[in-house]
Amino acid sequence: MAVKVYGPVRAACPQRVMACLFEKDVEFEVVEVDLVNGEQKRPEFLTLQPFGQVPVVEDGKFRLFESRAIIRYYAAKYPNQGTNLLGITLEDRALVDQWLEVEAHNFNELVYTIVLQLLVLPRMGEGGDMHLVRCCEQKLGNVLDVYEQRLGETKYLAGDFFTLADLSHLPAISLLTTEAGMGHLVRERGNMNAWWEDISNRPAWKKVMKLMT
C-alpha cells in the first residue's frame, strides 16, 4: 500500500519528503491540502497534525509529521533500498546530523523570512518588508560563505557522498534561485554552484519538480 503524503506539491516541506521518498524508491501518493483556504487549520486536519502544518505522512496506520523527522525515518527504514542517505559509520551519521541542524537553525529561518516577505505576503495583498529582506539576504550571504568553504573541502555537505543533509536544502534553494530571484547567492560561489548543479539535477529532485506541472 502506498504511503500517503498530505500537502500541496508546491510547498517546500512536502517537497523535502517527496524528494526523499523518490530517492528511496518508496511509492507514495499525494493528498493535496488547500493551504490558501486554511484547510490545515481545520479541526479534521488538526487530528492529523496538531500544529496545523504540512506535511503529514500516513504509512498504513503509522502517522508522522515534521518533514525532517519523516526523511530521517525513511532513510533509516530502507537502508538497502534506493540511495543511501545516511552514510555508513557513526561518524558519517553524526556529520549528516550536523549539517541537517545547520540547515534547520542557520539557514532555514533566513530563507523562510525572505520568501515570506518577498513572495507570500505580496501574493496575499500585503506589503513585504524589503528592509528585512535585504538584512536576511546579507546574513544568508555570510552563512553561504561557510557553505562555500565546506564545499571546497568535500563534494557534499556531510562528506564525499550525497546525503539527507544536501537533500534537505533542495526545496529552499530551488525557491531562492527561481521565484525569489536570488540565484546570484549561489552562482557567485563556485563550489556552491557546482554542488547545486549536481544535486538539483538528480533524477529524484527532477521528479518532484515534474509533479508541479
Binding site: L95, Q98, N106
Partner: protein, 215 residues
C-alpha cells in the same frame, strides 16, 4: 579518552549537550570558551571548532562536531550505558522521538528562545527587553503549549510512555524561562507542569542545570 566539550555550562546549548553526556554516563571535560573576549569568533575557533562561530563544539578523538542537537544524537547513539535516549531498537519509537525532536527545534525553540533572550540574557548585558516582542512570542508559545498539554494528557512523555532525547532537548531554555514571570505558561498547564517536574528531577538533568547560573 574523554569527550571534550567546548562551551560554558551556563549556556543553554552547552547545557543541552552536557545533559545528554550525563544521561549516558560518559567521561568528558569542559574546555571553556571566552565569549566576552570573542574567542568563538576568532579565526582559530572558526577553523577548528565551529565555522559559524557558535558554542558548543565537541571533540572526540579525530571527530569534531558542532550543533548541539547533532552532538546529543551522536552521544546518545555512541554510548550503550545509561538512558536509552533514542529508542534505536524500535524503528517506530525512534521515529516518534524524531518527530518531537523536530517539534522542539522548529516550533517550541523559536518563541521560547526569544523570550529567554529578552528576559534573561539581554538584561545581563545592559539591554532593555522589548515588551511587544515578549508578548508576541508568549502568545505563540501558549498555543504550542496547548498542543503539548493535550499530548501529555495522553502520553507520559512527548514521544510516548518513555523519556527520550525529545524531552531532554526542551530543558535548557525552559529552565531559564521558569526563573521569569513567564513560568506561568508551564505552571498553568497541569500535564505540562507534571512532565516538567518529572524530567527536571532526573539526576542527569539536575547535574546539568546546576551549572546554569545565568538566572
Amino acid at each position: 579518552m574523554a569527550l571534550k566539550v567546548y562551551g560554558i555550562p551556563m549556556s543553554t546549548c552547552t547545557a543541552r549537550v552536557l545533559s545528554s553526556i550525563y544521561e549516558k554516563e560518559a567521561d568528558f571535560q569542559i574546555v571553556p570558551v571566552n565569549l566576552q573576549a570573542g574567542e568563538h569568533k576568532q579565526p582559530s575557533y572558526l577553523a577548528t571548532k565551529n565555522p559559524f562561530g557558535q558554542i558548543p563544539a565537541l571533540e572526540d578523538g579525530d571527530l569534531t562536531l558542532f550543533e548541539s542537537r547533532a552532538i546529543t544524537k551522536y552521544v546518545a547513539t555512541k554510548y550503550n550505558k545509561g538512558t536509552d535516549l533514542l529508542r534505536l531498537g524500535n524503528l517506530k519509537e525512534s521515529a516518534m522521538v524524531g518527530v518531537w525532536l523536530e517539534v522542539e527545534a522548529q516550533t517550541y525553540n523559536p518563541p521560547i528562545s526569544t523570550i529567554v533572550y529578552q528576559l534573561v540574557i539581554l538584561p545581563k548585558y545592559g539591554g532593555t527587553p522589548k515588551e511587544e516582542v515578549i508578548k508576541a512570542n508568549e502568545e505563540k508559545l501558549a498555543k504550542v503549549l496547548d498542543v503539548y498539554e493535550e499530548r501529555l494528557s495522553k502520553s507520559k512523555y512527548l514521544a510516548g510512555d518513555f523519556y527520550s532525547l525529545a524531552d531532554l532537548h526542551h530543558v535548557p531554555y525552559t529552565y531559564y524561562m521558569m526563573k521569569t514571570p513567564k513560568a506561568s505558561l508551564i505552571n498553568s498547564r497541569p500535564h505540562v507542569k507534571a512532565w516538567w517536574e518529572d524530567i527536571t528531577s532526573r539526576p542527569a538533568i539536575k547535574k546539568a542545570t546546576e551549572g546554569m547560573t545565568l538566572a
